[in-house]
Amino acid sequence: MSTITFDPETLEKLQQQKPTRPWRKKPTRFTASVTLAVLVPALIVAALYLRSDIPGPILLVIIYLPLQLIASGIAAWATKGTRGISDSVIIVNSIGASLFSIVVLVSVIGSLIVRGLGALSPQFLFQNSVYISPSTPLDYGGIGHSVVGTLLIVFIASLISVPIGIATAVYITEVRGRAVPYVRFFVQAMSGVPSVVAGLFILTIVVATGAFNQSAFAGGLAYAILMLPTVARTAEEVLKLVPDDLRTGALALGSTRARTVLRVVIPAARTGIITAVILGVARVIGETAPLLLAAGNNDQTVVDPFGSPISSVPTFIFNNVALPYPDAVARAWGSALVLIILVAILFTLARVIGRGRVGR
């Protein structure tokens, strides 16, 4: 505890100063200038939009943006001096960039809801599209066959990629062999494989060789290629969070290395590993190109994973988007809404489960 001493003259000066309240971050003058800087350009442009016939985009880019930049520049100059001007440019532009992204997102999600909701009905979700042509009214047929197909394909992909993905993560975090940097590198490189290339690959080694038809199995293999890197990388992050004390404890009790991993480490990271699987599924569930190549298309409900081509939600959307029939397009919007809801549910599940602490 030290005290600061001032000479009497300075002390008197200090005491005469008004309290500056440094904790009050925004003085009124600042607030006023910001409010003005936001309101004035917006009002001018709104007036121009209503009163003149300048097209909207020009108004936005040629008039509003420069006007907003100048207004905030002046406001910043008034409160913070010349140095404030470059700050105001950054602030205005970064708010603009955020708004741009939000507008795009709202537009996508909003249009899905507005145009897709009309198509949804129990029959749309559960019936298949046999006897349905693109011009058939929406009251008949549905995407039940595609939903079954997507679920089957994703299930097969998970059966293949989840064990391999977790084993890869175990190799990186538990075995810690010499090749760890290389394995990491290859997993990273694999995550960059374009989905259409994964589809082509499965087409050449599975379908073109005559081993299997276009089928849920072939589609699942293509999905597994895309899913594996996500599962492996997320599982790696999760296994790293398991405290070393658990490992040393298990080993010290005489457990073998395999038992330590299988009975202690993986159960401890259970929730995290479920998250990894869900993220992997969410990553692939909307992929279209690999299924166009490897799984084909079908109007009937197929449950045989090997024999025949199979429909899926993404390929159903793909086939209906550009058709000149309003009902087919409405089906595309409806199934797009179903697909995005599936993705959203998966991500929410991953968040909720992932929030549970590792080790419980």
Binding site: S98, Y171, A189, V242, D245, I317, V343
Partner: protein, 330 residues
Amino acid sequence: MGGKTGLVPDASQLALRDLQSAATSHRGDRVFTRTVAAAAFTSLLVLAGIAIFLGLQAIPAFQTQGWSFLTTTGWDINTTPPTVGIFGMLYGSVLLSVVGLVIAVPAAILLAIFMVFLSPPRLSRILTNLIDLMAAIPSVILGLWAFYILNPTAEEWQVLLNKYLGWIPIFENTSGNFLGTPFIAGFVLAIMMIPIITAVTREVLSRTPPDLINASEALGCSLWTMLRYVALPYGRGGIVGGIMLGLGRALGETIAVFFVLKLVYETNWDKIIESGGGSVATLIVSRFGEVSGPLELQLLLAAGFFLFIMTLIVNVIANLIVSRTGRLQK
């Protein structure tokens, strides 16, 4: 994170390694270790498999076409031998990605700056979730949206661009058709790249040591000078890597581009608002539906091979840059 990064990490690490190597002598463990190691190399196996099998298919295509497969543009199957070249498609993929990058890079970096340095924590948490959601939109849905919602708006913008900036060569349009242009396709790619670049940039910017930021503020730096001299140089490697990752995604994007780009078998060099362009990935999907025979399929597989090589190179460079900066920052 595991609490092992304190002053005395070595003792426990050593103990763990000793215990593990002592346990490895067990026979079941050797089986376990080998199984896991074998699974770990699946990724290498798949990468090699793609390169080998698509590469083998590319050989016949090369034998009939020679180097003109890579240096010319065209897709005529009916002549014998077919005259096919994918230069315009490869170039088109790059052109679309560049258009996308021009839009996405400034937007993503500014967005990340907003999230890290400007917005209140609660808002930036909401934004993070929204950006994640944006990344999760399947490309077929983005294609559907672009086809019906973006197209009319973008057409209007492009007409205006052409009207007022038409004297700049890249904004020329002689056909009067403003749909199916590289600009629209690039815009859709930008929407896909923004979440990727933003996520990486936000990550590296938020790792800027607070000491450096505080010091720069104490020295009287404004936000701009702090970004210019502290945060951006510090995160430069990561940002470049994030951009490359986005580029890798854009080069391989298929379905969304399929709906908004009019595929033409000639090279569109720089007319970004002229209808018609190329993209390898889209070529594969659009030709596959009406493939005429095994020869054309082989040509498509060859195209896929070069797409794979192109994206692999971009991704490897990106990951090297990202992991190197990651190490520097630790």
